[in-house]
């Protein structure tokens, strides 16, 4: 145990986590020349393409230092706020963390939020100033920023470059010398933390865990504490680039477990694994049933594909336990599913995976957060509204609460004014303003989560010219003056376009929504009135004018097949359109109303 080190890498997105992980693997000879590829741990196509880490990944390295053999377990964490719970569980599995800070960008919002998570778990922090090879690197100042943040000595900050490999040896040395070896009682009952799971078509769910006490043996009867389920450990082992089967995984180590579980839902990140016969009395703290933050309807573009969509969603759920869904029906779109996501990125990922991996063309409706409505009859019982159309009749509603977040934004002082007015427009209330340096400011706001869903990231980027980073955490429900904004196309309400918004913004948003839809809905053979309404009151209207002329002048001998082929192509282009009433709506119109300011 004394030669094991468990550590994670935490950083703001793009500060170089995945690249540095690659270098550590190279340097310790954990990958052969043949196995090498960039961002090795990001195994999903989506992760590679977008350059983001969506899932946690663990890998074990062997390293000899001063004549002794060490086992280094690296846990790479997702780099997006949607997945902060997973990050927190990965952190809980470690004794130390490399805190990577980009030498050009300095400290950003997620640097701080991830650091706090690590400190809460008493991790030893090793600050790494990364990307020192960049011409725009600013090592002195950024080191000062880090020293200010951590209260450490400048000499503790390791200068490194994931690109050139500079500093990697120092990092490994620091991991061994500074990160404490795991502690734990090998003879105590098994106590292990599940920090991730991966679905494998052939082997079922692979559970990744960290053993705190006792050991987990092949064939052992075990129990997952939170779910109460019992299994036999069919196979256990450690995680090299390929899995290494072991007869047991011992105290302090990180490994995988296969039990024949077929659905990812059964394996809850944060749960404790223990022995069935001799259970631990000590569960790993911090378990939460992750709750979806954002809800949206997902519908097949072609109504006939509903069953196929259900199959695809079920399969997707096998390897993404945080996806929840249940059937719903929409007057406009027919049968589909109301889905819960961890956040907007998660929603995008699900939509994209449905299209890529399952070849489904889907419509995602305007997303919303989860509201609590209280009726006059039952003013103490919350009625949960995950779909705007579920909001009870306004005359019967006592009050509505919506989820609030604490938003942390770090930006340059030049942009404080812009960021401030954006957040105020988004119903934010400033709670703190701290100058981290003379040029960099940390702002915190209490804000409705719903405002983040509506067009926040892009606008923040715009108003700060890209110099703002953002993070948030939930702070509970608050009462708000909310109304439902409905959209009517050709006189018919389209429930999939309804949204709950603050009464004060209703007119502006209604107007923008109509304008945006006018832009997105192609001209058709007849005029299409677009109206925004609150209750029976129309607050805004636009019209998509009918096409004037859409016919070939001449259609004789040779024109016929040429024209037919052209029109067939046109018809195929409509694959991503959904007919609602008599109007054809392009797939992206449902979502693009979120980008009202583009």
């Amino acid at each position: 145990m004394k030669n094991i080190r468990n550590f994670c890498i935490i950083a703001h997105i793009d500060h170089g986590k995945s690249t540095l992980a690659d270098r550590l693997l190279d340097f310790t000879g954990s990958v052969t020349e043949r196995e090498k590829q960039e961002q090795l741990l990001d195994s999903m196509d989506l992760e590679r393409e977008r350059g983001i880490t969506i899932k946690s990944h663990a890998i074990q390295m062997d390293y000899e230092y001063e004549g002794e053999q060490y086992i280094l377990n690296l846990i790479d964490t997702p780099g997006h706020v949607d997945f902060s719970y997973e990050v927190s569980r990965s952190i809980a599995a470690c004794e130390g963390a490399l805190l990577i800070v980009d030498a050009a960008q300095s400290i950003q919002a997620q640097t701080i939020s991830n650091l706090y998570l690590a400190l809460e778990n008493d991790l030893e922090i090793i600050p790494v100033l990364n990307k020192v090879d960049l011409p725009s690197a600013n090592p002195e100042e950024v080191t000062d920023d880090i020293v200010d943040l951590l209260g450490c000595d400048p000499s503790e900050v390791i200068h490194a470059s994931g690109k050139t490999g500079f500093g990697v040896e120092n990092i490994l040395q620091a991991i061994i010398e500074r990160v404490p070896a795991p502690e734990g009682d090998p003879d105590a009952p098994l106590q292990a933390l599940i920090f991730d799971s991966v679905y494998n078509t052939f082997r079922g769910v692979e559970t990744y865990f960290r053993v705190f006490n006792g050991e987990i043996k092949k064939g052992q009867k075990i129990k997952f504490v939170a779910t109460g389920k019992e299994y036999f450990a069919d196979e256990v082992g450690t995680l090299k680039l390929n899995q290494v089967v072991k007869s047991s995984v011992k105290t302090g180590d990180v490994g995988y477990l296969i039990t024949g579980i077929k659905t990812a839902k059964e394996v809850k990140v944060g749960d404790t694994i223990t022995d069935f016969a001799n259970p631990t009395t000590n569960i790993v703290e911090g378990f939460e049933d992750v709750k979806p933050m954002v809800f949206a309807g997902i519908y097949p573009v072609d109504t006939e594909d509903y069953e196929e969509l259900r199959n695809s969603m079920e399969k997707l759920q096998l390897n993404d336990a945080s996806l929840v869904f249940q059937p719903e029906s929409s007057a406009a779109l027919g049968f589909g599913f109301r889905c819960g996501f961890l956040g907007m990125l998660h929603m995008e990922i699900i939509q994209e995976r449905l299209e890529r991996e399952f070849d489904m063309t889907v419509i995602t409706t305007v997303p919303n957060v989860s509201y609590h409505a209280y009726t006059n009859k039952n003013p103490d019982d919350a009625f949960i509204v995950n779909n705007p159309s579920d909001l009870p009749d306004p005359s019967t509603v006592n009050r509505v609460e919506e989820p609030y977040i604490k938003a942390t934004i770090i930006t340059k002082s030049d942009f404080v004014g812009n960021v401030m007015s954006l957040c105020i427009e988004k119903r934010g209330m400033i709670t703190n303003q701290t100058y981290l340096t003379t040029e960099r400011v940390e702002l915190t706001f209490d804000m409705p989560l719903a405002e983040i869903v509506f067009d926040f990231y892009d606008r923040l980027k715009t108003v700060s010219k890209g110099y703002a980073s953002f993070d948030y955490s939930p702070i509970g429900m608050r009462v708000s003056k909310l109304v439902r904004l409905d959209v009517l196309l050709n006189g018919q309400p389209v429930d999939a376009l309804s949204a709950l918004i603050h009464a004060d913004n209703a007119h502006t948003i209604g107007k923008k929504m109509c304008e945006k839809l006018k832009e997105l809905i192609p001209r058709q053979q007849f005029d299409i009135p677009i109206q925004a309404a609150i209750g029976a009151k129309i607050i805004s209207r636009e019209t998509v004018k009918a096409l004037r002329k859409d016919v070939t002048a001449k259609c004789y001998g040779g024109d016929i097949s040429r024209k037919r082929k052209l029109l067939e192509k046109q018809k195929k282009g409509k694959k991503r359109m959904r007919q609602v009433g008599n109007v054809e709506i392009p797939q992206q119109a449902f979502m693009a109303v979120l980008k009202l300011n583009d």
Binding site: Q525, K549, K563, K572, N582
Partner: protein, 377 residues
């Protein structure tokens, strides 16, 4: 019944809007006629029924001399079985139709003239780079009427800067001359035409769809008022004067097209000749047919039927769709057409699905929506 289409790929000068196949150099004219006669001989087995229509299209068939036209017609008669009173149409341009030529044509088997008037107004003719002027347009019709009863003229509307009054004037002249058949087209800016590049460069104003739509409505109203039937999107005729040749295209009847770029149809496959004069002549000199063929699937045929049916007074027959393609196609057609029926762009008259007056100018997009397509393809 069958039709024969003969493509004469020569013109005096290129009209600015034209993307048909033609050449302005007449050097190969004799060889071309020889090649066309050769093709007629080589393909006679392809027509299984009697020839009812012969159509000289182009290009500008009136560029040929009377005896050249007669020689081609004679070849048709000697190689094919022709009914007693076939419709034999010649497309002609006003600048070719002097009194002498008209008399020669009247003495031939040609019994229908389709004259490329396009406009009676000087400015329009100039803008389009037509070879004739306004006076020639009227004069030739005065003369032709004395020798031919069955005359069709082409008129183009939606020309940049054309006012409603000017368009009405064109229509009034045609009606005053009592022309029994009028083909009238919205000016279409095809890619790779001179007109297209002039508009791109700003030399000519772009066409205005709204004006074109007004002209189209004026056309429909005027024609209806004067007793013409609107039997196809762009075609109007007094009773008894429908073009038999063209109607065949829209009624799924077989036709044989000879000459470069000509298309043929035998109800199952479409074929088309190479659109290059020199290569066409060369191939036929070796007794080869420079032709490409494409077999139509049931879906293709259904789509073509919908597309052409919506353009005509014959509409799309639901029972015919069911009989030829099955219940599934009929159900699909009805389902897809519902929203257009709701919006009064289509209507169902007994067994026929038809475009309404408002739907006629939009029938392509509507047809596309009624198409069956295999998205996987």
């Amino acid at each position: 019944m069958s039709g024969i289409y003969i493509h004469i790929p020569f013109c005096k000068q290129a009209c600015h809007y034209c993307d048909f196949h033609f050449s302005t150099s007449l050097g190969k004219k004799e060889e071309m006629i020889g090649a066309i006669e050769k093709e007629l001989k080589l393909r006679k087995a392809e027509l299984l029924t009697k020839v009812e229509t012969i159509y000289f299209g182009g290009g500008t068939p009136s560029i040929l001399k009377g005896e050249e036209i007669n020689a081609i017609i004679d070849t048709v008669y000697s190689e094919y079985e022709v009914i007693d009173d076939p419709e034999i149409t010649l497309e002609a341009n006003p600048d070719d139709l002097d009194l002498e030529t008209i008399k020669v044509l009247a003495g031939s088997r040609v019994n229908r003239l389709s004259i490329g008037i396009q406009s009676f107004l000087e400015a329009d003719l100039k803008l389009m780079n037509r070879a004739h002027n306004a006076k020639e347009a009227k004069d030739c019709l005065d003369q032709a009427k004395k020798y031919f009863d069955n005359i069709s003229i082409d008129l183009i509307y939606g020309i940049p800067n054309m006012t409603n009054e000017q368009w009405q004037e064109n229509l009034d002249v045609a009606i005053a001359l009592n022309i029994p058949h009028i083909s009238s087209y919205a000016l279409t800016v095809e890619p790779k035409t001179a007109l297209h590049s002039f508009i791109e460069k700003g030399v000519i104003d772009p066409v205005d769809d709204e004006a074109a739509q007004q002209h189209f409505n004026m056309l429909i109203d005027t024609m209806e008022e004067k007793g013409y039937e609107h039997y196809e999107t762009s075609n109007f005729a007094k009773p008894g004067y429908f073009s038999k040749n063209n109607s065949a295209y829209w009624q799924n009847k077989p036709y044989l097209g000879v000459g470069p770029s000509a298309h043929s149809f035998d109800r199952e496959q479409r074929s088309w000749n190479i659109n290059n004069n020199a290569k066409y002549i060369k191939a036929l000199a070796k007794d080869e047919l420079p032709i490409e063929r494409e077999r139509l699937s049931a879906i293709d045929r259904y789509n073509e039927y919908v597309m052409t049916g919506l353009r005509t007074i014959w509409g799309v027959s639901l029972s015919k769709v069911e009989k030829e393609y099955g219940q599934r196609f009929r159900d699909y057609l009805l389902k897809q057409s519902k929203r257009y029926v709701d919006e009064h762009l289509l209507y169902i008259d007994d067994d026929k699905l038809m475009t309404s007056k408002n739907g006629r100018f939009l029938s392509d997009g509507i047809a596309a929506d009624l198409f069956m397509v295999d998205f996987a393809k």
